[in-house]
């Protein structure tokens, strides 16, 4: 049981963004995906999460094909993505951002809202508690009732992670969780990811900051120019001549 990406190709005009990419993330694993800018990492995330159809290839999750599902359908299987540039609901508070993410709310239907107010209130109370817990876990208490648009870049990344947690995820696709985040907060975010992974939630983390990711993920895939270069434990991967060439342009 795993996320299974098989032979994915995607071209934009003449530019091959992805050529025959395959990778596998076992359930509950913490896997990194590194590569220089423009390697195709974010494109791969868009294909996996259903925002972009691939030209070729197949995606399977937990033994089931995702190929016919739209982004929302894929998220409902427990495969939830975040975005490289945070996409917070800017005018909603941090708390509301997370509450909006929870599935199966009676009050999201107009009928439920007007004709089952008791049930809606009860669900809202329960949801508010669950959200408070996530906010505490992510250390966002101080900004919980601020509009998310006013937060710093790093805090927004945490809000995105918090929202993903409310969806009851089994595997989270994190797109550059450390980009533009101050070093102290990077350590915090890493700590949270490890804790969540300890609770059984899997992660596939994109990062082009090699150093940060090698500290976090016990297993790495390396991409360059739309292909998977290699995979393995961080030490082995970093020792690989092809990886050094991709990153350092053959200078080493």
């Amino acid at each position: 049981m795993s996320l299974q990406v098989t032979n994915i190709s995607k071209a934009f005009g003449g530019f091959k963004a992805l050529s025959g990419v395959s990778l596998e993330v076992p359930m509950g694993a913490l896997v990194g995906l590194i590569g220089p800018n423009g390697a195709g990492k974010s494109t791969l995330f868009s294909v996996i999460s259903g925002f972009m159809p691939p030209d070729e290839g197949a995606i399977g999750f937990d033994g089931r094909s995702l190929d016919g599902l739209n982004p929302a359908g894929r998220a409902r299987t427990g495969l939830v993505r975040t975005f490289q540039v945070p996409r917070e609901f800017a005018h909603l508070t941090v708390r509301e951002n997370m509450m909006a993410a929870a599935p199966g709310q009676t009050g999201e239907s107009l009928v439920g809202l007007f004709f089952r107010p008791g049930k809606v209130r009860e669900e809202e109370e329960r949801l508010a508690e669950a959200v408070s817990e996530v906010i505490r876990f992510l250390r966002l208490e101080r900004v919980a009732d601020e509009p998310a648009g006013k937060l710093s870049g790093g805090q927004k990344k945490l809000v995105e992670l918090g929202r993903a947690l409310l969806v009851e995820p089994r595997l989270i696709l994190l797109d550059e969780p450390f980009a533009g985040v101050n070093p102290v907060l990077i350590g915090e975010i890493m700590e949270r990811i490890r804790e969540l992974n300890g609770r059984g939630i899997g992660f596939l983390v994109i990062e082009h900051d090699l150093e940060a990711l090698t500290r976090l993920a016990p297993q790495l895939y390396v991409m360059d120019q739309g292909r998977i270069l290699t995979m393995g434990a961080p030490d082995a991967v970093l020792a690989d001549a092809r990886v050094r060439e991709a990153y350092l342009g053959g200078a080493v």
């Binding site: 925002f51 929302a72 909006a100 809202l113 007007f114």
Partner: protein, 295 residues
Amino acid sequence: MDAYLAAIAIIALIYMLLSLGLTLQYGLTGLINFGHVGFFAIGAYTSALLSLQGLPLALTIPAAAVTAGLAAWPIGLISLRLRDDYFAIVTLGFSETVRLVITSEKWLTNGVQGIPGIPRLFETISVGIGAQLAVMGVILAVTLVAIYAMRRIVASPFGRVIEAIRDNEEALQALGKDPAGFKIQVLILGSALAGIAGAFYAHYITYIVPDQFIPLVTFYVWMAIIIGGVGRVSGAIVGTGLLMLFLEGSRFLRDIVPGVSEVEMASLRIGVVGLLLVLFTIYRPQGLMGDFTKR
């Protein structure tokens, strides 16, 4: 004078219903509807024609809401496939199409001659201030119900989701929710409100012609919610009130400002509204009631 004030209040309430519908669609959900007047027209003609067939207004006004809401359904389906700006153009085209259809289909709508003699609300009450106040009371009651429902929606999980759609639709999809159904419901609901407004308008004015349903009506509603504050129920109320006060009040301004003819004044009015709009967008884009963040 009392009758005149009552007349202004009635028109203001009708515009308030329109503003509430657009607040739901644009202010809360981010749908750029430039064809609001189309649904207003559908409501007006539906209720007018049915009432002239002898149906009681208690049936024809809800029927106006239903037809306007149903007309929004296909528009909603289209909206799911279009980017915001294209959707705006489509809705504008829709409302102009509605106007052209009611102009051309003379067998049904009597074309440019329009429909005269539409029954009033409370026709049995003798004409005069009593009848005016009764009409005003009914429209006020409906407006209050609409305001109550809107406030309930804003404070609900449904409201949270449509505001999330406005702020970032793709992020919502990434969380497992399909915006499609929400957008369609919002379009239908807002258009049904416009339909009710149209019905009240027809039964109040008692004479409707296609020329009353030009895009300017849509843009008056836009002006009202921009001045009042987009995305806030109170903004729709305050903005509509102020716009109506200005549009009507400026009639008297002509008595004070010498040398301005009636025609010039009409153009001047629109010019001033335009200037206000520009000033608001520059200096107070959140509107009078808005602070951009809190409800």
